[in-house]
């Protein structure tokens, strides 16, 4: 049977549809809301999960959709955390304004470093992303910057005003939980819009074949820098969220381990679907909360083995495995 034009259009539509918003997307949020009404014991942990979900989603945008192998995504997280912390210390304690400032700081970091980093390819690009993060960490620790960043002590003791002027950030973390959930929803929505836009399609094209996209007249570097900045802004929102909810910004918000963790979350959950970020971050943070409390270095053993085994045996991640499984089940049903 020949493949007709109509078939092709249908396949293309299905390809788009998989990335569109659907009713399933509401599930994680319903789950989070349900968790709130059942118990308040895990609210701080839930908030940490959501911070990492935002961070992992931003990385997925750059890495999973854009093919930018970034080992230095923590640079954006740290920029967001420090700018939100500094904004709260010196300018205004309004959380929404602080979040916007963090996002702008992240976008600017992407706009400034992007043209340099994305000019290179392959391992050089990986090195450049790593170098940017290391550079920012040294900047945060530099003696000259100590009056601003607080050096190794970091930023602390700043206040965050009640959300919308109505809901103060309480010790039990109720407001923080809902605030984080709201940010997750906003970031998820932004990611969906970006991915489904013509721009998102061009980005996926660049990931799969940059040379061909250039021949089609797409300005590859400009698109990549734009994506890098959007992803940077979202990662900075994760950092800003962390700064506002924990009221503490340390040098560890610029440490490599955070980049590494986000990569583990993505490979665990699966790249290029956004759901992988949600699943991976949830599993990773919940597990590491238990394990890292016992012994951080032995936890590192586990992360190392998981990375190697996951890449070897399940490179598509949990979400990828589930998708394949459901597709197979569907094929079996339609064969009957």
């Amino acid at each position: 049977m020949a493949v007709t034009q109509a078939d092709r259009i249908k396949t293309a539509r299905n390809g788009f549809a998989r990335h569109r918003l659907s009713w399933i997307d509401a599930l994680p949020f319903l789950f989070a809301a349900a968790l709130y009404s059942i118990t308040s014991r895990y609210l701080p942990l839930g908030t940490q999960v959501m911070i990492q979900i935002v961070f992992a989603m931003s990385l997925d945008l750059a890495l999973g959709y854009g093919g930018i192998d970034s080992l230095g995504h923590v640079a954006f997280f740290g920029m967001g955390a420090y700018s939100a912390g500094l904004f709260a210390t010196h300018v205004s304690s309004d959380p929404i304004l602080g979040m916007l400032v963090a996002a702008v700081a992240g976008a600017l970091t992407g706009l400034i470093t992007g043209p340099v980093v994305l000019r290179t390819r392959g391992l050089t690009l990986v090195m450049m992303t790593l170098a940017v993060a290391t550079m920012l960490q040294e900047l945060g620790n530099a003696n000259a910057m100590k009056p601003v960043t607080g050096g190794a002590d970091g930023l602390f003791g700043y206040k965050i005003a009640p959300l919308f002027g109505l809901f103060p950030f309480d010790l039990a973390g109720r407001t923080g939980y809902w605030y984080a959930l709201g940010i997750v929803a906003i970031v998820f929505f932004i990611c969906k819009v970006v991915v489904n836009s013509p721009f998102g399609l061009a980005i996926r094209g660049i990931r799969d074949n940059p040379v061909r996209m250039r021949m089609l007249g797409v300005h590859v570097t400009t698109r990549l820098v734009t994506l890098y900045s959007i992803s940077g802004a979202l990662a900075a929102m994760a950092g800003g969220l962390s700064a506002q909810v924990t009221k503490l910004v340390g040098l560890d918000s610029l440490a490599f381990l955070l980049s590494g963790n986000a990569l583990v979350m993505l490979i665990l959950g699966g790249t290029g679907s956004l759901y992988g970020a949600i699943v991976g971050a949830t599993i990773f943070v919940v597990l590491s909360d238990r394990a890292a409390a016992v012994d951080p270095f032995n936890w590192l053993f586990v992360i190392g083995f998981v990375l190697i085994l996951a890449v070897r045996f399940a490179p598509q991640g949990i979400v990828g495995l589930l998708t394949e499984w459901s597709r197979r089940a569907e094929a079996r049903r339609s064969a009957k």
Binding site: T120, A131, F305
Partner: protein, 290 residues
């Protein structure tokens, strides 16, 4: 005036010594990249493994720095060869992202092992008396240890160059770097050449790790700490180019040392700035062939 010259000379020696250590560390990585296109981010972990092994040998009391050096380097070569035969077989099968993730996973495992065995303290190997002194000529003080590092590394570099240039194995390796497929076609066993080179690269990294402990002290996160400078050397030198790595390591070592001394406010940034400028000028490496 004299003191300016003296500082300059001392800094120059420090910079060259640091550059030489970076070169020894980057040899294995650049060959891995050149021949197999493998992004082996675990390379510095071998330098750390060698350093810790030598440290353990010296601690046991039966060895000195110089008897421990060949033993630990040999042990690291065996470790490298063993990993290349096992875990790295998986690494070869995946794409770039997979390679990065797998080798980072390996780094995490080695970091955790180092912490388990040695704790999180900083260690440096003790130097014999004749190395811990320094020569002074008027205002110029030059550390014997730095000169020793330069001498030994230059010796190793010369041997490397001679092996590459004049031996059968060197010719095979050069062919494999330039064109792996063609090398296979003319009957060179590229995977075998590669395995040997990988192991030698691990040994050289170990030697650098052992010799350099006074400049780069051992600690569990060593494997990640020095990954960035080593990657910079490889990127600026051009992937697969030993000569490029050599020059790049010297330039970056000197620039970093001078930068930290003369512009303390900018501290470590001088080297990043230098790398950014160099790579903007020539994205595929300054010393790479066009």
């Amino acid at each position: 005036m004299l003191s300016v010259v003296a500082t300059f000379a001392a800094l120059f020696v420090d910079g060259v010594a640091y550059g030489m250590i970076l070169f020894l560390m980057s040899v294995g990585l650049t060959v891995t990249l050149g021949v197999m296109r493998i992004a082996n981010l675990a390379h510095c972990a071998f330098a750390m493994a060698g350093g810790y092994m030598a440290f353990a040998l010296v601690q046991s009391g039966h060895f000195t720095l110089f008897t421990a050096l060949p033993l630990a380097a040999l042990a690291t070569m065996i470790l490298g060869a063993a990993l290349e035969r096992t875990v790295y077989r998986w690494v070869y099968l995946t794409g770039q992202l997979g390679q990065i993730l797998m080798t980072i996973g390996l780094v995490f495992i080695i970091v955790a092992t180092a912490n388990l065995l040695f704790g999180s303290n900083l260690y440096a190997l003790a130097l014999p008396d004749w190395l811990s002194r320094s020569w002074s000529y008027g205002a110029v003080a030059i550390s014997a240890y730095r000169v020793f590092i330069i001498g030994v590394s230059a010796g190793i570099a010369a041997v490397l160059w001679a092996v590459l240039e004049y031996t059968d194995f060197g010719a095979k390796l050069r062919a494999a770097v330039d064109n792996p497929r063609m090398a296979r076609c003319v009957g060179i066993d590229v995977p075998w050449v590669f395995s040997i080179t990988f192991s030698i690269g691990c040994g050289l990294a170990a030697a650098a790790g052992i010799l350099g402990t006074q400049i780069m002290p051992l600690e569990p996160w060593y494997a990640l700490e020095y990954l960035v400078p080593v990657l910079m050397v490889v990127a600026v030198g051009g992937l697969g180019s030993l000569k490029g790595s050599f020059y790049a390591a010297l330039v970056l070592g000197i620039v970093d040392t001078f930068g930290r001394y003369y512009v303390p406010a900018a501290g470590a940034f001088v080297i990043y700035l230098a790398v950014v400028v160099l790579l903007l000028w020539r994205p595929s490496g300054v010393f790479a062939r066009a």
